[in-house]
Amino acid sequence: MKAKLIQEYIHYTLEHNNTPQSVYLFAKSVGISEQEFYNHFSGLETLESEIYQTWFEEAMHKCTTSSPWNDYSAREKVLAVFYTFIESLKPNRSFVKFLKERDFKSLPKWPAYLNGLHHSFMDHVKPILNEGIASTEIAERKYIDTKYADGLWLNFLFVLKFWIDDTSPAFEKTDAAIEKSVNLAVDLMGKSALDAALDFGKFLFQNK
């Protein structure tokens, strides 16, 4: 029923070029009682927030059950999550675009309808990053490494916005944007000249 309500919600929005203005109106158009609606969602905001979350969970499921997943490094896993999620949005591009026009201002803020997505994203990305730290692909840095996932979330929002505005054939530019931005993000998380510089600075400070 939940899935059906989500479908109906998207359908309603596209048909009316506006989201339903009240639970009453929405329930009526679906042909259920308002009470029935509350058995599944506490309100229209919750429903909206669950749309992206559901898509993301589906994309994650697709990712983790595809054959190369277990052989992937942390970097590749993050890339795969990005690609698969963006690809899964395609059938609902008009709806995604509509919501973005309604409210999705500049980063790093994000609209309430992405809160569910945010939760799921963090839940899935953190273990991948920990895996990367365990395999030393990603550098362990005190205080900073807890922020890695937040950084990737912003990267994720950037890609989402990029895709919505992308006009290149087959969204090729979004593919390039994912490849380049995620590689940069993971490079920054890896051991780099920065660590060596910090280490050297610390040494000088302690030996003066």
Binding site: E76, L79, F82, E172, I178, E179
Partner: protein
């Protein structure tokens, strides 16, 4: 992971070139200050330093810039040899696509992952091409090679070429206007190369027309697994030129392979009037039994009829004897223009006659030994000499038709591969000269 960071935005890429420009400037200053101390210093070291810096800049780029590096490396006649040695390395290295991007490319093109389509699929690329990479796969017991292209290559080509321009005329001693028509020609070819569906079509056409040539092998292409960014074919065995030579092939085997290559180009130029214009060693697979595999038909130059009738006439002594015909051809090929003074026309015509006389040597005889290093060195030397002629250097106009660009490159590539191969070739088998002689005779009368 093995992927190094690629300067991604236009600004970053532009910065690389600005930096390179500054470095080259610095090299010149270094050179001349050293020379004040040590007058015996040759320009070799300077060229070497410049080549290093330019190469380093280009190797951090991808796609079209890398391709331009390849183009330059093939134009041996305009570049000092230090440049070409460095640039030739560019032909084999390009950073790879990530695994998930490969999967994504397949999903977009065929709605399935490569793992779902093929029995096995190697995620690690076995070869890097300049605008993509090659993966090995198997299906129904057959070994396949799958070429996959980076996303957005076509989109970035135009802006890349704009950035390459200042570097290019610095290297080639040309002004912007002069360079424009050539850049356009290169641009259109590069854009064609990004269309794998077009490559698929051309591969089939040329394969069909040339498969009867002895010792030449082609591969099968699969339409079902081909899109504008994915090209699937049977895996073709064989070694690249340098690895092949390490196996110490006999003279007979080298001749056989060289002959196959020669016949292949003869057929394309004189019959098909469309030629595989990318004869760099990476596109030929040599087998120890004397067979030659040809891959990569991304760059095919179609030869316009009136260009053909004039360009190849320059290689025929009987036609060159007539001063009137010669002049007409030179004008048609835009090597001289009616605006040139008579003196300039004469100087350029003389230099050109000298050059074509040398270049046509293999065509003058029934058999020619490309292993003759003295001959190849003569070409380089004359090339440098010609590029130093003041009338050509100061010229505001582009000399030579833009169609000649890829044809010249093709023959320079062919000559230098045959030279490295040390092959003796029967060059006079096909009688292509007769129709051309008749054409110019009727024109005279």
């Amino acid at each position: 992971m093995e992927q190094n960071s690629i300067p991604s935005t236009k600004v970053q890429r532009a910065m690389r070139f600005v930096k390179t420009g500054a470095q080259i400037g610095g090299n010149y200053i270094k050179h001349y200050s050293k020379k004040m101390v040590d007058p015996s210093l040759s320009k070799d070291e300077l060229h070497e330093n410049n080549a290093n810096d330019v190469y380093n800049a280009l190797s951090e780029l991808k796609g079209s810039a890398l391709k331009v590096a390849q183009m330059l490396s093939m134009e041996k006649n305009v570049l000092p040899r230090q440049y070409t040695n460095k640039f030739q390395m560019a032909q084999y290295s390009a950073p790879p696509l990530s695994g998930p991007l490969i999967v994504q490319t397949f999903v977009k093109a065929f709605g399935k992952t490569p793992q779902e389509i093929f029995d096995t699929f190697e995620m690690k690329a076995s070869n890097a091409a300049s605008i993509g990479q090659v993966h090995k796969a198997t299906l129904d017991g057959k070994q396949l090679a799958i070429k996959i292209q980076y996303p957005g290559v076509a989109e970035s080509i135009k802006s890349d070429l704009k950035i390459v321009k200042p570097i290019a005329f610095r290297l080639l001693d040309m002004n912007e206007k002069e360079l424009e028509k050539y850049i356009k020609e290169v641009e259109s070819k590069l854009l064609e190369e990004t269309d794998y569906e077009l490559e698929f079509k051309r591969s089939i056409e040329i394969t069909e027309a040339c498969k009867h040539i002895p010792n030449l092998v082609f591969t099968n292409y699969y339409k079902a697994f081909t899109s504008n960014r994915v090209l699937t074919m049977d895996w073709l065995d064989g070694m690249h030129l340098d690895d092949f030579l390490k196996t110490n092939p006999s003279q007979e085997i080298r001749n056989a392979i060289g002959q196959a290559m020669w016949d292949f180009y003869d057929m394309q130029v004189h019959e098909l009037k469309a030629v595989h214009a990318d004869p760099h060693p990476g596109n030929f697979l040599m087998q120890t039994d004397g067979k030659l595999g040809v891959i990569d038909f991304g760059c095919v130059k179609e030869i316009p009829e009136d260009f053909y009738l004039n360009y190849f006439s320059l290689l025929i002594p009987e036609i060159m004897q007539s001063a009137t015909t010669m002049r007409n051809i030179m004008l048609q090929q835009q090597i001289i223009t009616i605006n040139d003074s008579e003196r300039t026309q004469q100087i350029i015509t003389d230099a050109f006659t000298k050059m074509t006389t040398l270049l046509r040597t293999p065509f003058d005889e029934e058999e020619f030994d490309f292993g003759n290093n003295a001959y190849i060195d003569q070409i380089y030397a004359l090339g440098e000499e010609v590029s130093k002629i003041d009338e050509l250097k100061k010229s505001k106009e582009g000399r030579g038709s833009q169609h000649a660009l890829y044809i010249n490159r093709t023959y320079f590539g062919l000559y230098s591969i045959l030279n490295v191969l040390q092959a003796k070739i029967k060059t006079g088998v096909r009688n292509w000269k007769k129709p051309l002689i008749e054409y110019h005779l009727t024109k005279l009368n």
